[in-house]
């Protein structure tokens, strides 16, 4: 008998062959992603051409940049006909671009510090994982920032804080019995404290020293954009919520007041509202109150962004299932409780990406104040810097710098917003 053994039986798998060179690695990637079809190849070549042209235009120009020169003419002399940027203007005028030309140079640390603290204050609002106690600092931040930037006596911001704390205490005490009583009572309390305090505290101006007063109109540069953006967005949030609720309200008068306000503000360009702030609003205040331009602009931009935020939040309110409203009603909650405890937390969560969009748009729109002769970043460039004898004709460096600053901030915010959106996405798709 033949010993029947199996001549060849594989006991393990054949190792996989490497894919053919054109189906793997960079070649495959190139083939799939760049040269999949003839049309695609054409697009790729066009794109490479465009990139090449942009890079050859800008890279040597940037690399040849001159960082030290007293004027554009001196720059050109150094460059001697070669293409190159004159970044010297940034080196010489960076302080004006960031702080405006009237903010005292020895006080730059104050807005700088306020800017750094802004991150600390914003962190607990932006990232929910941080300890909630940090919110206390966020609440204090407006007063600290105000004091740092404008300087003057600390009693002013302190009084404002005391008023708000008094209001908050009143609210906590009475909100259990009635929301309306707590809310309006708190406002009244704060106003009373402020009015009384106004007679007690000493005059806020300080002329000398590290904390000396700075006038609003001395603010400028990118600092002004940041301040307008941060102030107006934070002020417009509560107003926007109120407007959105008002627009959804079943009371016709309140509803129509809100509708008219929102549609009016959204219907006109921001620039006309700034014209109003600049040339009209002064007439609407009591004779002699002389509200300064910064405050008038803050009022108008806040109204502007409140209307847009209201629409975003209205979208959030509308997106909530009707069952949430009915559930709140069936629990016997009154309107204020239902809104505060059930509806708004959910509606706001849905609206966050939209609100961030509005905030970015608004921050960009703060550059419009340069049209009404305020010296924000763009205003500084268009006005004092380009008009000066030394730096006439330095456009690319300055506008590029401005564009870069705005890009960093806005891109950062929009990346945050996308992160947040992913984070908050609790539905499963």
């Amino acid at each position: 008998m033949v010993d029947r053994t199996i001549a060849f039986v594989r006991t393990e798998d054949v190792p996989a062959m490497p894919p053919p060179p054109n189906a793997a690695g960079p070649v495959k990637w190139l083939k799939d992603n760049l040269f999949a079809t003839p049309a695609n190849s054409v697009l790729t070549i066009l794109a490479i051409l465009a990139i090449y042209m942009i890079l050859t235009g800008t890279v040597p120009w940037m690399l040849n940049g001159i960082w030290e020169a007293p004027s554009l003419a001196a720059c050109r002399e150094v460059l001697n006909g070669a293409s190159g940027a004159c970044f010297a203007v940034l080196a010489e005028r960076w302080n004006q671009l960031l702080f405006g030309f009237q903010y005292p140079a020895d006080l730059y640390w104050r807005p700088g510090l306020a800017f750094l603290l802004l991150f600390l204050a914003a962190a607990p609002v932006l990232f929910f994982d941080l300890p909630r106690k940090l919110l206390l600092f966020t609440a204090l931040y407006p007063f600290i920032a105000y004091w740092l930037i404008w300087g003057g006596s600390i009693f002013g911001p302190l009084l404002a804080l005391v008023g708000i704390v008094a209001g908050a205490l009143f609210y906590q005490r009475f909100v259990k019995s009635s929301f309306a009583l707590g809310f309006f009572g708190a406002i009244a309390t704060a106003l009373i404290v402020w009015t009384l305090g106004g007679y007690i505290i000493p005059d806020g101006e300080i002329a000398e020293g590290a904390m000396r007063s700075v006038q609003s109109r001395d603010l400028g540069g990118f600092m002004l954009n940041m301040m307008l953006g941060v102030t107006c967005v934070s002020l417009s949030l509560p107003i926007g919520i109120a407007l959105a609720l008002g627009r959804q309200s079943s009371m016709p008068i309140i509803k129509y007041i809100c509708v008219i306000f929102i549609e009016f503000i959204r219907g006109v360009p921001l620039i006309t509202l700034l014209f109003v702030a600049n040339v009209m609003l002064g007439y609407f205040f009591p004779p002699g109150s002389g509200v300064d331009l910064f405050l008038r602009v803050v009022i108008m931009i806040t109204m502007f962004s409140a209307a847009y935020i209201a629409e975003v939040i209205r979208g959030g309110l509308a997106a909530l299932p009707k069952g949430q409203y009915e559930a709140a009603d069936s629990l016997g909650l009154d309107y204020a409780q239902a809104m505060r405890l059930i509806i708004l937390p959910q509606a706001l969560k849905i609206s966050i990406p939209g609100i961030v969009n509005v905030a970015v748009g608004l921050f960009k729109d703060t550059t419009l104040v340069s049209v009404i002769s305020m010296f924000d970043l763009v205003g500084m460039i268009r006005g004092p810097i380009l008009a000066s004898v030394e730096w006439q004709g330095v456009y690319w460096e300055l506008f590029g710098f401005a564009a870069l600053l705005f890009f960093i901030v806005c891109y950062g915010i929009s990346q945050y917003s996308q992160w947040l959106e992913r984070r908050l996405a609790t539905d499963h798709r």
């Binding site: 799939d32 992603n33 760049l34 999949a36 695609n40 697009l43 790729t44 794109a47 490479i48 465009a50 990139i51 079943s250 009371m251 016709p252 008068i253 309140i254 007041i257 549609e263 009016f264 959204r266 219907g267 006109v268 360009p269 921001l270 620039i271 006309t272 014209f275 109003v276 040339v279 009209m280 002064g282 007439y283 609407f284 205040f285 009591p286 004779p287 009603d329 016997g332 009154d334 309107y335 970015v360 960009k364 729109d365 550059t367 419009l368 340069s370 049209v371 763009v378 268009r382 456009y395 506008f399 401005a402 564009a403 705005f406 890009f407 806005c410 891109y411 929009s414």
Partner: protein, 408 residues
């Protein structure tokens, strides 16, 4: 709200205004109304007190007075002796013109970029992403200034076309790209009836061709539905579009008036002003980035199953896009698209930065400065923008109602 059973009907007491939900809303509304009326009254009162204190008044009489200044781009008859009202109309038409042009080109930019962002081509995808991010994250004001500066600095001035060895030459010998504007040849008929009538004639012919082409397509569709075979319509359509037009060109003798350098500027041909180009291009490319995002979101919002189902039915990829995906995507794309159009109209108010005479520059700029009637001018200006916005909003609402998913 919370009360379900009929509440007991007692006699009315004052406290019910606050405690009874039936009356409470009236109380709130009354309070809100009174507060609002008081505030408005307070503001108006301040206004008139302040005005009276300075001996000023609110008076729209200046609108009838001669404006006294010239405007570089006017779509209607206007001289420096025309009234301020006419100057405002010139501005309004300029605003509408640039808004319309920018809406068209922004849509083109946006759709192109939005579709290319979803392309299979990695490089193109990334480039479009960069375009979108760069333009979305930098203020439109800076873009307008940058683009205007590029135009001023990069394009040659008319002076450079002069001389025996000019620094700049005309494009193909017929068009001039200068930093004051673009000059292109003006077509006219040698044996025509004169400008307006010729234009009207061309319009009639084109409209006729349009309806002719539509009829051919409709017939093809009917045949397709009846027999399943779609007759080829391309050649017929081409003939309908181009036949009559070419015939007219030949009969009346189409000629071009080529711009040439005369004195300080180019003369002849069609001039598209530099400021118009700058603001038009800036608004288009800026808003295009936003539209691109809308288009991308719209296409992505169409569930993948739709594409797959269409594929399973054997529809070709190109037709899947046009027959299945796009019609559904448009439902998502169009409302934000229209609000982007609204933004273009509002952002066109920055035209003064490039010296384009829109309504903000005439009524809200020069007229305001020359007459000093700030309140009146700004009120009129806001009224104009408000009207435009409300009209566009009305269009959005009509559209939204029309395309709303009809649920049964």
């Amino acid at each position: 709200m919370t009360s379900i059973t009929d509440p007991p009907r007692g006699s009315f007491q004052l406290s019910m205004l606050i405690n009874d939900t039936r009356y409470r809303s009236y109380t709130f509304q009354a309070i809100a109304f009174i507060v609002l009326a008081l505030s408005i009254g307070f503001l108006i009162n301040n206004l008139f007190t302040n005005l009276a204190a300075q001996g000023l008044d609110i008076n729209f009489g200046f609108l009838g007075a001669p404006a006294g200044y010239d405007i570089n781009q006017r779509l209607i008859e206007y001289t420096s002796q025309s009234t301020n009202l006419q100057a405002a109309f010139v501005g309004i038409l300029n605003t509408l013109l640039v808004a319309f042009l920018a809406c068209v080109t922004a849509t083109i930019f946006g759709v192109l970029a939005g579709v290319l962002r979803l392309s299979n081509n990695w490089l193109v995808r990334k480039l479009m992403a960069i375009y979108v991010e760069i333009f979305r994250n930098i203020p439109v004001l800076i873009w307008i200034l940058i683009i205007f500066t590029i135009m001023i600095a990069v394009l040659p001035g008319p002076r450079e076309f002069r001389g025996d060895d000019p620094a700049a030459t005309m494009f193909l010998g017929i068009s001039a790209f200068t930093n004051r504007g673009v000059y292109i040849p003006l077509p006219y008929f040698e044996r025509g009836f004169g400008g307006g009538l010729d234009f009207l004639m061309m319009l009639v012919v084109l409209v006729g061709s349009f309806f002719g082409a539509r009829a051919v397509t409709a017939r093809a569709t009917r045949i397709q539905e009846a027999t399943g075979e779609r007759p080829a319509t391309l050649l017929t359509n081409l003939a309908i579009w181009f036949g009559p037009v070419i015939a007219i060109f030949l009969i009346f003798g189409l000629r071009f008036e080529v711009p040439e350098l005369k004195g300080f500027n180019f003369a002849g041909g069609i001039k598209v002003g530099g400021p118009l180009i700058a603001i038009w291009f800036a608004l288009s490319i800026y808003t295009g980035a936003f539209i691109a995002e809308n288009v991308r979101a719209g296409i992505q919002a169409v569930s993948k199953g739709q594409t797959e189902a269409a594929g399973a039915l054997g529809i070709r990829p190109g037709r899947i896009m046009s027959l299945v995906v796009l019609p559904q995507a448009l439902r998502v794309i169009i409302p934000p698209l229209i609000s982007n159009y609204l933004n273009i109209t509002k952002n066109s108010s920055l035209a003064i930065l490039v010296g384009y005479a829109d309504v903000t520059a005439t009524l809200g700029g020069i007229t305001l400065n020359q007459t000093g009637r700030a309140i009146e001018c700004i009120l009129l200006l806001m009224l104009f923008y408000l009207t435009i916005s409300l009209l566009i909003s009305a269009v959005i609402n009509v559209y939204n109602n029309a395309i709303k998913l009809k649920e049964r």
